[in-house]
């Protein structure tokens, strides 16, 4: 097995205990420290594939390994960021960021220190004592990102975390996510419907087929890092990649 491979999915079938397969013969290989974006038509199995990797959905056939070990829910080296921010309403921003650390067994002082650092990194320092009910969608999503990256896992699974945000806020969050990721060295699988988002963030954009047979095309994003979401908007290569991805996505939905 390739040592630099972090996530390996071979011949994966998923059927939710029913006769019809939702996913059939899916292959996926993600290198350690790589950022891949998964795109594809609605219902093609993106969330299901993430759930399999997170250990939430049983495998009907095939092998799945993350860091050489099979998927188990609640593994200490994987962090799954859900589409909804899932902040505890009765905890402030600080309390929510500390919550992830608390569940990961981090001591009190270290918790407070790390929470403060990561809240700073996502620009929520002024809102750290607010309850989630007082935050805007974008602020909530940033708190959720801070909670995720404060625990420092080696694999991050993200399912459309920014889908509810306006495009302006998205750009800010892209920069913040990239900042968090670049210092973490983590492997990321990021599901999105937004082609621009996929290209801005990822090293590779994987296009999944509508037929449930997994990845049918990939686009290598050879844009230099560190990237700035806003500067990319003016970059011709970005638009070129956008068109190529768009064509691939259309082909995958046939």
């Amino acid at each position: 097995m390739n040592a630099s491979l972090d996530i390996s999915v071979r011949g994966l079938d998923v059927n939710f205990g029913q006769a019809r397969n939702v996913l059939t013969g899916v292959e996926l290989a993600v290198r350690r420290g790589e950022f891949v974006a998964l795109i594809g038509a609605s219902g093609c199995g993106k969330t299901t594939l993430l759930n399999v990797i997170a250990g939430l959905v049983p495998v009907a056939a095939g092998t799945v390994t993350i860091g050489g070990a099979p998927p188990v829910a609640g593994r200490g080296d994987i962090c799954y960021v859900l589409a909804r921010d899932a902040l505890l309403p009765w905890r402030t921003v600080t309390g929510n960021v500390e919550y992830g650390l608390e569940l990961s067994g981090v001591g009190r002082e270290e918790r407070a220190r790390r929470a403060a650092t990561y809240i700073d990194k996502v620009g929520l320092a002024a809102a750290r004592d607010l309850y989630p009910s007082r935050l805007s969608q974008g602020m909530r999503q940033r708190a959720s990102l801070a909670r995720a990256f404060a625990v420092g896992r080696s694999v991050y699974l993200m399912d459309e975390p920014f889908s509810a945000l306006d495009s302006q806020t998205k750009l800010t969050l892209h920069d913040q996510l990239l900042g968090l990721w670049e210092t973490s060295g983590a492997t990321v699988v990021f599901v999105t419907h937004d082609i621009g988002e996929a290209i801005t963030l990822a090293d590779r954009v994987l296009v999944m087929s509508k037929k449930g047979i997994g990845v049918v095309d990939e686009i290598h994003v050879d844009l230099a890092r560190p990237r700035s979401a806003e500067a990319l908007q003016a970059d011709e290569r970005y638009h070129d990649l956008y068109r190529r991805t768009w064509t691939a996505l259309k082909a995958s939905a046939q």
Binding site: L56, A73, L88, L130, Y131, V151
Partner: protein, 276 residues
């Protein structure tokens, strides 16, 4: 970024202070009370209503004064307060504990839930004489009657809160590696807390009613016994004075619970989604 945070924080606190102004609220309340009392007194003075039936504010106040001045009320008040306290404590402890068990054990819940509904549908006040037969005329029968009312309220309101817990919060916590114990402590219980507080307040009201009505059926001491003797003498002012005492007692305890609730549920106020 910081500007956004600041302006939203101000928005939240601005929304909370609407309707604040405690001084004017208290003045309005006092005026409201005065209008009621004046209308009552006026109705009697003008001959619109008979003081023999509805008494007057002045005579109720006088009855209250007598009850406390002679110290006549204290043994009875003590008995009733004791019954309410025991029944309330038992209802809360067993109600919450049962709700937790039923929430974690769906199989058991499915078996007993029709029985719970059946018991809760019974007019337990009508069982009062039977409770006296079974548990004697001491405080036990009143505690049982009050408990039979309070227990189900506590159980159902806690269970309701536990059942509708946000699945995303549970999933997120599990993915971060939370144990069942931590899920309960950090997600299920705080989620059920608003329901528990609503239950606590209702339980107190029903436990008080249960205790007093139990005493009216048969007892050696208690406010219910006094109530029976006052109504036997057609002492309307005395009856109203006693009812006022129970109401004030319940209101005082309720406002203590409100205070605790406001501190514990501070997070639920001032949402940006729903103003107010």
């Amino acid at each position: 970024m910081t500007d956004v945070a600041n302006s939203e924080a101000k928005l939240g606190s601005a929304a909370r202070s609407v309707g604040g102004r405690p001084a004017s609220i208290f003045a309005a309340r006092a005026a409201f009370l005065a209008i009621i009392l004046l209308a009552w007194q006026g109705a009697v003075d003008s001959g619109l209503a008979n003081a023999a039936f509805i008494s007057t504010p002045a005579s109720v106040a006088q009855s209250l004064w007598h009850l406390f001045r002679d110290g006549e009320i204290f043994p009875d008040l003590g008995t009733t307060v004791l019954e309410i306290t025991i029944a309330f404590a038992l209802s809360v402890v067993f109600g919450i504990a049962s709700a937790v068990v039923l929430d974690r054990n769906d199989w058991l819940n499915r078996i007993v839930s029709p029985f719970l509904t059946a018991f809760n549908s019974m007019p337990r006040i009508a069982l009062g004489p039977l409770f006296v037969l079974w548990f004697g005329i001491g405080i036990a029968s009143k505690v049982v009657l009050a408990f039979s009312l309070g227990y189900f309220i506590m159980l159902l309101s806690t269970l309701g809160g536990l059942k509708n817990v946000d699945r995303d919060l549970l999933l997120m916590s599990r993915l971060f590696g939370a144990s069942e114990l931590r899920l309960f402590r950090h997600v299920r219980f705080p989620w059920a807390l608003p329901g528990i507080f609503a239950g606590l307040k209702l339980t107190l009201i029903y436990c008080s009613a249960g205790a007093v009505i139990g005493e009216m059926i048969a007892a050696k001491s208690g406010l219910g016994v006094l109530l029976q003797s006052f109504s036997g003498r057609f002492d309307v002012a005395g009856v109203l004075a006693l009812i006022l005492i129970v109401a004030l007692l319940v209101m005082t305890l309720t406002s203590v619970m409100d205070l605790v609730e406001r501190r514990l549920l501070e997070w639920s106020r001032g949402s940006t989604d729903v103003p107010g």
